[in-house]
């Protein structure tokens, strides 16, 4: 499906076209569910978060603007927020300020459409996996668990300075790997 076809499909969803909505679901559910399952770790909670994500898409499809960026990252951003909110509700943890709100993500999304979808997730997945375990752990806790640096220090039992140093090193490493691509 090219960009124009996808934009037209989302526009149909925004107009209440259920068939178009189910086509979007069939196309992207594995990506959304992979993310929610990774965050929540529980298949039942992940399915609830996946369902909530697509229900949000159903009610907010008109808010997607093709000129601001590709559809999949927009959808996955919603999925991440839904999953992290559920994680915090389950853990009864207060919400944190999240600088990755969908509006700001539009400004800096990489050009994800230039890489085939299959190779894209694999290359980013393996980039994270290639990190030293300590660095990978802080990325997991920060991005997929929504923890702040102080919270990570508490959970890991590390000094706050160590957490800061390792998170910075992990992000610098990922930035290097991303630039190599």
């Amino acid at each position: 499906m090219n960009d124009t076809d996808e934009t037209a499909l989302i526009a149909r969803v925004a107009q209440g076209d259920e068939r178009a909505f189910l086509m979007v679901y069939d196309r992207y559910t594995s990506r959304v569910h992979g993310l929610t399952l990774h965050i929540l770790g529980d298949p039942m909670l992940a399915e609830e978060a996946t369902q909530d994500t697509f229900l949000k898409l159903w009610s907010r499809a008109r808010q997607y603007l093709a000129e601001r960026g590709p559809f999949l990252p927009w959808l996955l951003t919603i999925a991440r927020h839904v999953a992290l909110d559920r994680l915090r509700l389950e853990a009864r943890r207060p919400a944190l300020s999240d600088s990755n709100d969908p509006e700001e993500v539009w400004q800096t999304l990489p050009d994800l459409e230039t890489v085939a979808e299959e190779s894209r997730w694999r290359s980013t997945y393996f980039a994270v996996q290639s990190l030293h375990p300590d660095l990978r752990q802080v990325i997991e806790l920060a991005y997929y668990q929504g923890l702040s640096q102080s919270e990570m220090a508490e959970v890991l039992g590390w000094p706050l300075g160590t957490v800061k140093t390792r998170l910075r090193a992990a992000m610098e490493k990922l930035r290097e790997l991303w630039n190599e691509k």
Partner: protein, 245 residues
């Protein structure tokens, strides 16, 4: 700015980009970013890294049941089946006449009720407006921003008179069996209900005023979730937004 003065801000950029910077450090960094082009460039680069993590998890197909559950939530699955009847011409004529008579009577009743409802709504809106004006003019009323996805607005907090007011734009319309519910959050994370409301159709913004029984000074935040009609004893649904005091 020297390199030593610059470093504490630039060191925080990766954590800020991934959403892990502690709340206490965010305001200072955001103030610095407004005036530092090089840090803005750094932030853009790290945000791209952070955004790439969206696609760094392996795809996983959910159960087939999920698709069915989702389909059952769509409007077409909510509509009742239309009954079929076989009518003679005479029955049809009598039936149409009765329907017309009923429609005329119903129209009159509905007109009256519509006027009464409009009057009630206008009265409510007037009183709400008066309360908001008084809160805004009160010197110790706090105003906090609400921002979550497309939902934006303001929270007015009057701890002296124990009043909370929400003025929110772009609240999604709800199905008939749902309601929004306000929760006051105490320091231990416990939620106490402060009322339920539904956005008015045809209006871009929603105002809701709550007069909680408990002392507002004993709470640290407020949140709004989607709940079944009538509300819940504790939050069960999707959170729409949350504001920390």
């Amino acid at each position: 700015m020297t390199r030593n003065e610059h470093t504490p801000f630039s060191d925080n950029i990766p954590a800020y980009a991934i959403g892990a910077l502690d709340v206490d450090d965010i305001a200072a960094l955001e103030a610095h970013l407004k005036t530092c082009a090089s840090c803005q460039t750094e932030l853009a680069a790290y945000r791209a890294v952070s955004a790439s993590l969206l696609t760094a998890t392996p795809p996983k197909q959910p159960s087939a049941e999920l698709r069915k559950r989702l389909q059952s939530r769509l409007p077409s699955a909510q509509k009742p089946a239309r009954p079929r009847f076989a009518w003679s011409f005479g029955q049809l004529a009598v039936g149409m006449a009765l329907v017309l008579l009923l429609a005329l009577n119903t129209y009159s009743i509905l007109q009256m009720r519509s006027l009464q409802l409009a009057q009630t709504q206008l009265t409510r809106q007037y009183r709400t407006g008066q309360t908001l004006i008084s809160m805004l003019s009160y010197p110790t009323t706090e105003r906090l921003a609400i921002s979550a996805d497309s939902v934006v607005g303001s929270l007015l907090l009057d701890k002296d008179r124990n009043i909370v007011a929400l003025i929110v734009w772009n609240m999604p319309q709800l199905q008939e069996d749902k309601t929004y519910q306000i929760w006051l959050i105490d320091p231990q994370g416990e939620r106490v209900s402060a009322g339920i409301f539904r956005p008015e159709s045809g209006q871009a913004y929603t105002t809701q005023i709550a007069f909680p029984e408990q002392n507002l000074s004993s709470f640290v935040g407020i949140g709004v979730t989607v709940e079944p009609a009538g509300g819940s004893a504790a939050p069960t649904g999707e959170r729409v937004f949350k504001v920390d005091f």
